[in-house]
């Protein structure tokens, strides 16, 4: 795991040994002085739920190598850490537009015709906006996913109601695919391969519950539109 390597590397620079275990909601970490094993400190801390942020990952990894190679002092490391952490994310409106285009292209990959693609674009636009708004209000993730996929599939189901194009079923199915927690799924399998089985299973359960919530939202919308007998 990258986390373990990076943190140990930084601790090594200041002359400490470090043991770390990561759980879904908390981390347990012990640092021991390399010369004097009676000097040690253990910490259990709750973790905050953060969104996936690869800029953090790559910058923090670079910081750990810099600490190791340039022998930065504690103050410098702390300053650079706060600089990295306070960096702003991409604007939510850009994300909204790009995700909509992405999902529309995804529909194209499944051989949806042009009507289906347009429908999916609008559905994703509305659904993702709902999701962003609800995320900002810190509503429970499962509720957010269900509601957002419900709204998106209500829009995507219009293809059936008004008989637009020849592939309305592809529009309906791929209208909610922007919810697929792809990175979490890959991470969970990777954790299991590397032997962090507990963390991997926790992530897997989390990702699959989110997918089940999405499917429930989709199915509720289908019931409401009278499409459940397909």
């Amino acid at each position: 795991m990258r986390i373990l390597q990076n943190v140990s590397r930084m601790a090594d620079n200041f002359g400490y040994r470090l043991d770390l275990s990561v759980f879904q909601l908390s981390i347990i970490m012990t640092i021991t002085d390399r010369d004097d094993s009676t000097k040690r400190l253990t910490l259990i801390k709750k973790t905050k739920q953060l969104l996936i942020n690869y800029t953090f990952v790559s910058n923090l990894s670079a910081l750990s190598w810099d600490t190791h190679d340039k022998h930065l002092t504690y103050e410098e490391v702390k300053k650079r850490f706060h600089e990295i952490i306070s960096e702003k994310r991409t604007s939510r409106w850009i994300i909204l537009i790009l995700v909509s285009f992405a999902n529309a292209a995804f529909c194209g990959l499944f051989n949806g015709d042009i009507y289906a693609i347009e429908l999916v674009f609008v559905a994703t636009l509305v659904g993702y906006f709902v999701r962003q708004e609800m995320m900002l209000k810190h509503i429970n993730h499962f509720v957010v996913y269900t509601t957002s996929s419900f709204v998106a599939s209500l829009v995507a189901g219009m293809g059936y109601i008004f008989h637009w194009g020849n592939t309305p079923e592809i529009a309906l199915a791929s209208g909610v695919l922007y919810h697929t927690p792809g990175v979490q799924l890959i991470n969970s399998v990777l954790d299991i391969i590397e032997g962090h089985i507990l963390t991997g299973i926790a992530r897997l359960v989390n990702a699959s519950s989110l997918m089940i919530c999405t499917a429930i939202g989709l199915f509720t919308a289908m019931l409401l539109l009278g499409l459940d007998k397909l």
């Binding site: 670079a62 992405a102 995804f106 922007y178 792809g182 799924l185 890959i186 391969i193 499917a215 989709l218």
Partner: protein
């Protein structure tokens, strides 16, 4: 194949940006996704099984991403994972869950058999594609751990 690649690139950009990587990484992952998905499309057209072709393409992406990681000093995962996202079997996963729900609702025995077959077929496809993706992409990282964990080192 070209259209397939372009669509995959758009998908990769959109799904990558919601995990907030740097600009360069987004471009690289779009390129890798286009290459990967295009090749997979050709392989499936030529009659190769979907999970095997996914495995081949994923390990190809993994190798290339280590190469790019050394070039732009960025961990390989940052653009290897988003470029796999267009290949995540989302449609199969939703079909799995939907057929499970239909199975629960229906009382007709003959139809239930059909739903159960659907559930199993789609579920297995999802599982195998997912495993192929992850094992494929992490094979190069597991083979060359020294290189892949020191790419952000500048000296």
């Amino acid at each position: 194949m070209t259209i397939d690649g372009i669509l995959a690139a758009i998908t990769a950009i959109g799904f990558a940006i919601s995990s907030n990587p740097s600009r360069k990484a987004i471009l690289v992952s779009a390129l890798l996704a286009a290459l990967g998905h295009g090749f997979r499309f050709v392989m499936i057209k030529n009659g190769v099984d979907i999970s095997i072709s996914t495995f081949v393409v994923a390990s190809f992406i993994g190798l290339l991403s280590i190469l790019f990681a050394r070039m732009i000093h960025c961990p390989a995962e940052v653009f290897a994972f988003p470029s796999l996202l267009p290949m995540i079997p989302g449609l199969f996963a939703y079909r799995t869950i939907l057929s499970l729900i239909k199975f629960m609702q229906s009382a007709d025995k003959l139809k239930n058999q059909e739903f159960f077959m659907d559930f199993f077929h789609n579920g297995m496809t999802t599982l195998f594609i997912l495993l192929a993706l992850v094992v494929g992409v992490s094979l190069p990282v597991l083979l060359f751990p020294k290189i892949s964990f020191s790419v952000t080192r500048r000296y």
